[in-house]
Symmetry: C2
Subunit: 225 residues, 2 copies
DNA sequence: AGTATTAAGATTGTAAGACAATCTGTCAAT
DNA sequence: ATTGACAGATTGTCTTACAATCTTAATACT
């Protein structure tokens, strides 16, 4: 056996498609925090039956993207700044740990691969392509997580990122933020290359903390209007 | 306004009851890892309709207590030791952080309350009441989490504990483990009382690490038969 | 005998229809 | 302005249904 790669071909059930579509709709801002999701409307929009929609909604509820209040139905979750802060705190902790472990395990090839990803991010920054910025940031981080060999960490961070997704997008489009973000990520990579796990952890924590501050700016702005 | 206590009266929907019952059944070992859950059977056992069961199963899937493979139905999740290790690693990280913050914030009354909880645990240990041991341990920890003021940490740890629940139960019944556990928890509390956050973190991390080692013993035993 | 094939039965995925319980908003009455 | 009552909308739950897929067992073939 080569590796433990999961070869299972997952049939795309309708529900998975519904979940994907709805998640995308939430991320894209089509539904705004607090919006009420009416089951019948979703059925029409998606062209599927109510049971399918309801099951998909249960999954999204567990992801905390929506919350379902009995007899009141599903709403897009409202993220308070307090909650966002807590999420950033946990992110810092987990990403710091991941970076520290990655620093101990990274091979030459890993470093090289991450350099490529970072370069892609740099290009996106110069093109001012926010979507691509987020995507390449994510890929860069995914590499760190894979390196740290702890899928639980990866899983948890993925969940946390989903919950603050719109903050990430809006804060990344803040003038200057993306460029600074690039420098912070480069610092992480440099520390990993030097196999300096303490420095890698610090750099990762610092990056998240700066992201939090940037997010606060966008949060304030979004509250004002 | 006194506090931010949530006054909402949550109607007990059937699905919540189903989720509760099934979770309990899984924890109690009525369903074993790998067991296939047949929807029709669950309907009979619970006396509810298939749509209700299916929605509940989606929630449990998101909690990772079961996994649903398309066209193959739901199974009780199988926990590999590798995964369990990763969970203990993340737990150590999160509980360490929580303990450190708690050390900075604990008031006299908090300490007193935790002493009471710890004493209850000690009593359970002497009575060799495993269920009560787990319960009072949980309560002790819940207090720390409440102190650290980060509900995300609490939420994540709760999720992680659910996934390793049966390991906790079986390892807690290992001869001598509960008594050692008591000492480790006392060390955490002592550090918190001294407001020594570094010591509190270390004690919490140590406690989780010891729990991991104990869990490994039970895991090996459960694999052998 | 052992393996490949096929067919029957069981189970899941999805839909549609139904109805009681509950919520929401409106309008009248105090 | 607040309360009360009512109509309409929405959710929670159940029932029935059926095609798609999986599982298992029986069958045929080498």
């Amino acid at each position: 056996m080569l590796t433990d790669i999961n070869l299972r071909i997952a049939p795309n059930t309708i529900q998975q498609q519904i979940i994907g579509k709805l998640r995308q709709a939430i991320f894209s801002g089509m539904f705004k925090p607090g919006d009420k999701l009416v089951e019948a409307e979703l059925c029409n929009l998606l062209g599927v039956s109510r049971p399918s929609v309801r099951e998909a909604l249960r999954s999204l509820e567990a992801e905390r993207l929506i919350s379902i209040i009995p007899n009141q139905g599903p709403h897009i979750s409202i993220l308070t700044w307090e909650e966002a802060t807590e999420i950033y705190k946990v992110r810092a902790l987990l990403e710091g740990e991941a970076a520290a472990i990655a620093a101990e395990r990274a091979t030459e090839r890993d470093i090289e691969a991450m350099r490529v990803l970072l370069k892609a991010f740099g290009k996106a920054v110069r093109r001012v392509d926010t979507v691509e910025e987020i995507d390449s940031t994510t890929e860069f981080y995914e590499h760190i997580f894979r390196l740290c060999g702890n899928r639980i960490i990866e899983e948890m961070i993925r969940g946390l990122l989903a919950r603050i997704n719109f903050l990430r997008v809006s804060s990344m489009s803040l003038p200057g933020r993306a460029a600074i973000s690039f420098d912070e990520m480069k610092a992480i990579l440099d520390a990993i290359e030097k196999k300096d796990n303490a420095a890698a952890r610090l750099a990762a924590v610092h990056h998240v903390e700066q992201a939090r501050l940037a997010a606060y700016e966008s949060f304030k702005q979004s509250q004002m209007k």
